[in-house]
């Protein structure tokens, strides 16, 4: 309840980072993973972080998830501190690997967070069914992870994140390990899912077509130190199919992203 009131007070901004920096102390001296990040994500947006490896896009996602603690600046998630948001289970996190527990069936993997939340058995069962259907995996409840293909495993992990019924979905290169055909298919499914559930999605990728195809806002990042180079509001309609990738508008957006990546990249 508090969460909803707060997020309205924030004029619908769900994630708000101000002057955010994160420096890792290593044996070879400090590494500036994030430097001076200012970012606003509004409710219902699909925001992609794109950049070369080492630009801090995954680190930024982990800061939002309170899996890393920033060394300077502030971060608000759902009107709370990132820490409070994690405790309130305000987000669902999808990792690059499906990270399904191999000793649990798909159904029991999806009910894992629900068990931790202390939901009733009936409620768990209902949510498992609902979210399996949402990702087209109805009937696979009793299967073990190794019995599913990589794409199906990743869909199950998305269902697991959605089962918590979070306001925000944080996705860290979820389709990075899959082949392109499966990836295209899952991208289309993810857009439908986003449309159906009206969730706020933050998506990390290093694929330009993926970022442009999915996002309503593209955040281009550059490395050493990790910083935001460009923020592009997408002009594409919310309702899109894979064919949109052939349109001039799509190519123009891709061009701007590519230019941003090229300019922001230092080659030393």
């Amino acid at each position: 309840m508090v969460r909803k009131v707060n997020s309205k007070n924030q004029s619908q901004s769900v994630i708000e980072a101000k002057k955010l920096s994160l420096t890792f102390e290593t044996n070879d001296g400090p590494v500036h993973a994030l430097s001076d990040i200012d970012l606003t994500v509004k409710e219902g947006e699909f925001v992609s972080f794109i950049g070369p490896s080492g630009c801090g896009k995954t680190t930024l996602l982990r800061v939002i998830a309170d899996l890393e603690t920033p060394t300077a600046g502030t971060i608000e998630v759902d009107g709370m501190s990132a820490h409070e948001a994690r405790l309130a289970r305000a987000y669902g996190y999808v990792f690059q690997a499906a990270a399904l527990y191999p000793w649990r069936t798909i159904g029991r993997n999806i009910s894992l967070p629900l068990e931790i939340m202390g939901l009733s058995k009936a409620e768990q069962k209902a949510r498992v069914q609902k979210n399996l259907e949402l990702v087209d995996l109805a009937g696979f409840e009793q299967k073990y992870p190794w019995q599913l293909s990589g794409g199906m495993q990743q869909r199950a992990s998305i269902a697991r994140a959605l089962a918590v019924e979070p306001d925000i979905l944080l996705m860290d290169e979820p389709f990075g390990a899959l082949d392109e055909i499966v990836r295209d298919h899952l991208n289309e499914q993810l857009l439908k899912l986003w449309d159906k559930t009206k969730k706020t999605v933050v998506f990390v990728t290093h694929s330009i077509p993926e970022a442009v195809f999915l996002s309503s806002k593209i955040v281009v990042m550059s490395p050493r130190p990790g910083r935001i180079f460009d923020v592009i509001e997408s002009t594409l309609p919310r309702d899109r199919t894979l064919d949109i990738r052939e349109t001039p508008e799509f190519l123009e957006l891709s061009h701007r992203v590519r230019e941003g990546l090229r300019e922001g990249h230092s080659y030393d």
């Binding site: 994690r86 289970r89 990270a99 191999p102 000793w103 068990e115």
Partner: protein
């Protein structure tokens, strides 16, 4: 039907290597019997002024001595048959009675050792202080020869009124907790960082992370450790029986046998101990397979 045939072939293909090894061992055993007992047999011939002995007679005679250096396999099997099937279980000469004494001690010691080993591992994994302070003691406890400690444990416990099975079981515990602790520390620390991060995103507490992630991840390690622990628990039980004055148990049979030069009795007790240990390890293996099935482990 096809499954049945497949199962049979599977059984044969699994049993045949074991049978081959067994056959080789028995062949070597017979050869060693002849070789080791021949000098004494020739001595007998000499003293009996028997100069007409043949090689085949020598071989036959080396396998039927009363107190051979090395009894032949069939002598041992005959002794085991006489002391198990032909003796009443209540008899002090029944090998089943003595085996049961050792087995019960082994099982009690193994159970206490497993629980203790797991508790230590849980403590070590969850507390840096315990990790730093306990681990060196756990390791150094195993550098002390158990044969030296066993009589003291028996005497000390006897002084405070603990008698019977428990002091011997504690020696089993002393040996068996160690592989369990080492294995479980590794097992409880085995979950991938990704799996742990996932638990953090659910804001799971320590107990939830333990029961839903660390414990299931550690189970394969636990079973591997239990296989070692249960066999050395039996060694502990046998060692524990020695200082009690050879009253009962396989250890007592070994000791009494060596007092009176009853090598056949020693070897039958040894074979029995090996058989029991093998059965116990196999039982742990069966439990392991059952748990694997429950946990959806892909069939190999």
């Amino acid at each position: 039907m096809t499954n049945d045939v497949k199962g049979k072939q599977n059984w044969i293909s699994r049993a045949s290597p074991v049978l081959v090894v067994t056959a080789v061992i028995i062949a070597i055993w017979y050869a060693a019997t002849v070789f080791l007992n021949a000098p004494f047999q020739k001595d007998i011939y000499k003293r009996g002024n028997n100069t007409t002995w043949t090689t085949s007679q020598l071989i036959k005679d080396t396998m039927s001595q009363k107190r051979p250096v090395l009894p032949s396999p069939h002598q041992v099997i005959n002794e085991i048959y006489k002391t198990t099937v032909l003796k009443k279980i209540t008899s002090k000469r029944s090998l089943i009675y003595h085996s049961w004494v050792t087995l019960s001690t082994t099982l009690v010691g193994f159970l206490i050792g497993s629980v203790l080993g797991i508790l230590l591992a849980v403590g070590i994994v969850h507390s840096r202080t315990l990790d730093k302070s306990l681990m060196p003691w756990v390791i150094s406890s195993q550098t002390i020869p158990i044969l030296a400690v066993a009589p003291m444990i028996i005497v000390v416990l006897n002084a405070i009124g603990v008698q019977g099975l428990l002091p011997k079981a504690f020696i089993s515990t002393y040996l068996s907790f160690f592989p369990i602790t080492v294995g479980m520390v590794k097992g409880l620390r085995s979950p991938d960082v990704l799996y742990l991060d996932l638990m953090r995103t659910y804001s799971a507490n320590k107990w939830q992370t333990f029961w839903k992630l660390r414990w299931p991840s550690a189970l394969p390690y636990l079973f591997a450790s239990m296989k070692i622990a249960i066999s050395i628990a039996m060694v502990g039980a046998i060692v524990g029986e020695l200082p009690t004055g050879a009253v009962a148990g396989l250890g007592a049979r070994l000791l009494a046998g060596s007092y009176y030069g009853q090598t056949v009795q020693i070897w039958s007790a040894l074979v029995m101990a090996a058989f029991l240990a093998g059965t116990l390890v196999a039982l742990v293996g069966v439990a392991n397979t059952y748990v694997d099935k429950r946990m959806g482990v892909k069939a190999q």
